[in-house]
Amino acid sequence: MKKLSVRRRHPLAALVVLLFALAATGGLYAAFAPAEKAQADSSQSLAIEEGKKLYSVGCATCHGTSGEGTKTGPSLVGVGSAAVDFQVGTGRMPAQQPGAQIPAKKVAYSQAQIDQLAAYIASLGPGPSVPTKAQYSPGGADIANGGQLFRTNCSQCHNASGKGGALSDGKFAPTLQGVTPKHIYEAMLTGPQNMPNFPDTTMPEKDKKDIIAYLGEVDSGKTPSEGGLELGGLGPVSEGLFGWIFGLGTLIAVAVWVAAHTTKARKS
């Protein structure tokens, strides 16, 4: 220790201490941080890698080999992982055929594959990412406010109780019954196909939650129908048809029955 204390005032002492300090921090950093980072990096790039492979098989025909878009499919640069999760997660993509609108059908990929595809598309350019459960779960939301927002922003296409409706030239607003909260959230966020989008700047996260809560209350399939058979929830068209066939139709059948049971005048 004496040697050390003798040389502590040596002109190069500060430099030596600095070197030691640098070595220590560098060594510690090398021991902990870089290892973690390296791991994460490789799994992310693996997901992107896998996603790209899936993309080349299932999507590249219409969206181009690197998501730049073609005549039959739009560019996917900047649509974000939320759009992929919605389109592929509801079975709309990959599309069966081009048309006015791609309908929802059986989902073709597992959720893990969808996440890989989403990772690949997200790597093409920044865009809205898949919402977390905390963002879309309807717990504690204001249902009545959700209804008000729904009637103001959504019902002109989706019908007041979310049963869907027609748009021009074969396009349509689909029914919202059975759509998961995550997909409703993503649809509002990304505006898929013919739907306008409602980013957080025009419709804050809380409002989206309220709408999801309202739909869960009125259109979830578990909703009680107070008046009896819903008749599709389509309003007066199905009511009129039902009234003619089962109301008046039954009454005419009853009239025929009553008229057939009578004391007939004797035939001469």
Partner: protein, 548 residues
């Protein structure tokens, strides 16, 4: 007279007083003269046919509407004052709405039996107007509107139109998002009327739409004005049915001068009374099973909100179809806009209804027939009328499709534009096709009748003749069947006659007379009816060769 009888009875018979019912009837007769009324009417005969009960369906559903409507008025508040909802329906709690909507929510969720009564009221309105439609078509196709029943036809037609508007005003009362859109539609139609449209709209709504008045005003119209007029017309309609006696289908023993059927008392009283309960039962069952107008799903009306699939009840669907099919034409001149896209449908709405209402008068003018008719026509024997009726129904149905074009598009995976274009073209084409097809079917059926009368009915028995020919054995119809098939009167086309009469004076045939002659040729000329078989033809065929 009855009192003197009683005095002697009491004096001679020690049986004591007459039964309570008899004494009550005597009491009433002494003051109201019920015996002579009853004597004249209790044995009134009504013919028996299921289609003659269509009007009864309408009458009974009207009574059901009145009864349930009275119950609803006990709880409904016809006011547009704003309140905040605090009832049991969670998705609307805390939402501001009119008192009308709030009280309808209260009827639906809190008043005992309220929702069922509301649904009975609404379903029977749907059935009532559908029933009137079918009843009107029955009267039309059997020619039961002919003299002396033209006035009653007009009463019935007015009931149909008033029913449409009573339904519309009632449907608007809850002030929900769907009906509010319908009222907005009506406001648009009124605004499209040239020059006075804006004034009319301001008058009806008490200022700018929606204002604070229309629910209260529609309420008065819905529960007092229109039903009052309808009740009056209904009574007049029934009195005329009594006075004219009911039409009957032709058959042996049935003439223009008698009615074959059952007496009002007791047969028809029992039947009609029973039928009322059957109608009530069916409508109540429908109302208990199926939801109608669930206003809580639509929410309260706000002019800045709208829902897709916004249609009126079916009886206004024709107006909706006209507006949806019409291209949005408009003319601008001197700073004014003539909104043809709305005004033309408004005019056509009246035209479509009017052509049906006026047919009886057109027909009687063309035929020049001044005689009374109490025997119903078989539709095939009036091919032009039947074809016209079928064409009108087809026209109406095309417009109904137009009114539901979005539902048709989504449910059949079509483009709404394609459906709309189909409606536009069909509006002109389908009635013509239906007319031609129906007329040909009628003519075919007339030929078949003629064939049956002359050659008998096909028995399905095949016989082989000695020389090898196969023939089907035809069995002759009995006298009654032959009478039914040949009893109708065939109109002869109205000829203009010679241009110069026997004195050498030129006859003046104005354009109106010429038109009448043309129409008459079209309706009763060679191409429009098959001459019915004569007795001579029949005799010749039956006497000639025996084998068929």
């Amino acid at each position: 007279m009855s009192t003197t009888n009683h005095a002697t009875d009491d004096a001679s018979a020690p049986r004591g007083k007459a039964p309570a019912g008899e004494r009550l009837a005597d009491w009433a007769d002494g003051r109201l003269g019920v015996y002579s009324l009853a004597k004249a009417n209790m044995r009134k005969i009504f013919p028996d046919h299921w289609s003659f009960m269509l009007g009864e369906i309408c009458l009974y559903s009207f009574m059901i509407i009145i009864m349930t409507g009275v119950y609803l008025t006990l709880f409904f508040h016809p006011s547009m004052n704003e309140v905040t909802y605090s009832g049991p329906y969670v998705p609307l709690q805390g939402i501001r709405m009119s008192e009308a909507f709030n009280s309808t929510m209260n009827i639906s969720f809190e008043v005992r039996g309220g929702l069922l009564i509301r649904q009975i009221h609404h379903w029977s309105a749907v059935v009532f107007i559908a029933g009137m439609f079918v009843h009107m078509m029955r009267v039309f196709f059997t020619g039961a509107f002919r003299k002396p029943r033209e006035v009653n036809w007009m009463f019935g037609f007015l009931l149909f139109v008033l029913g449409m508007f009573t339904g519309f005003t009632g449907y608007s009362l809850p002030d929900d998002l769907l009906s509010g859109t319908g009222v907005r539609f009506m406001e648009g139609a009124i605004l499209s009327v040239p020059i006075v449209g804006t004034y009319l709209s301001f008058f009806l709504f008490g200022g700018q739409f929606p204002g604070h008045d229309f629910v209260a005003r529609f309420y008065t119209i819905h529960i007092l004005l229109l039903p009052g007029i309808m009740a009056g017309l209904l009574v007049a309609h029934l009195i005329l049915v009594f006075y004219h006696k009911h039409t009957q289908f032709p058959g042996p023993g049935r003439t223009e001068k008698n009615v074959v059927g059952m007496p009002l008392m007791p047969v028809y009283m029992a039947k009609a009374g029973g039928f009322f309960f059957l109608v009530f039962g069916v409508i109540a069952a429908v109302a208990a099973v199926a939801s109608i107008n669930p206003i809580w799903e639509f929410g309260p009306y706000r002019p800045d909100q709208v829902s897709t699939g916004a249609q009126p009840d079916w009886y206004m669907g024709m107006a909706e179809g006209l507006i949806r099919a019409m291209p949005g034409w408009e003319i601008n001149f001197w700073g004014h806009t003539l909104q043809l896209g709305v005004f033309i449908p408004l005019v056509l709405f009246g035209v479509v209804l009017a052509v049906m209402a006026l047919w009886p008068f057109i027909e009687s003018w063309v035929t020049g027939d001044k005689s009374e008719h109490h025997l119903a026509d078989r539709p095939r024997n009036a091919p032009t009328r039947t074809a016209f009726g079928a064409a009108w129904v087809a026209w109406y149905m095309v417009l109904l499709l137009g009114g539901g074009n979005d539902i048709a598009a989504t449910h059949f995976h079509l483009s709404i534009n394609a459906v709309t274009w189909f409606v536009r073209i069909s509006f002109f084409v389908i009635p013509v096709l239906t007319f031609v097809a129906t007329k040909r079917i009628c003519m075919g059926l007339q030929r078949r009748d003629k064939d049956k009368v002359l050659h008998g009915r096909e028995t399905g028995v095949i016989k082989r003749l000695p020389h090898g020919e196969f023939v089907e054995v035809h069995a002759p119809l009995d006298q009654g069947q032959m009478y039914t098939l040949t009893q109708h009167v065939q109109h002869q086309p109205f000829e203009l006659g010679e241009e110069v009469d026997e004195n050498g004076v030129r006859r003046k045939a104005g354009p109106v007379t010429k038109l009448r002659s043309k129409l008459s040729q079209g309706m009763y000329g060679e191409g429009s009816q098959i001459p019915k078989p004569t007795a001579e033809e029949h005799a010749e065929i039956t006497s000639g060769h025996g084998h068929h």
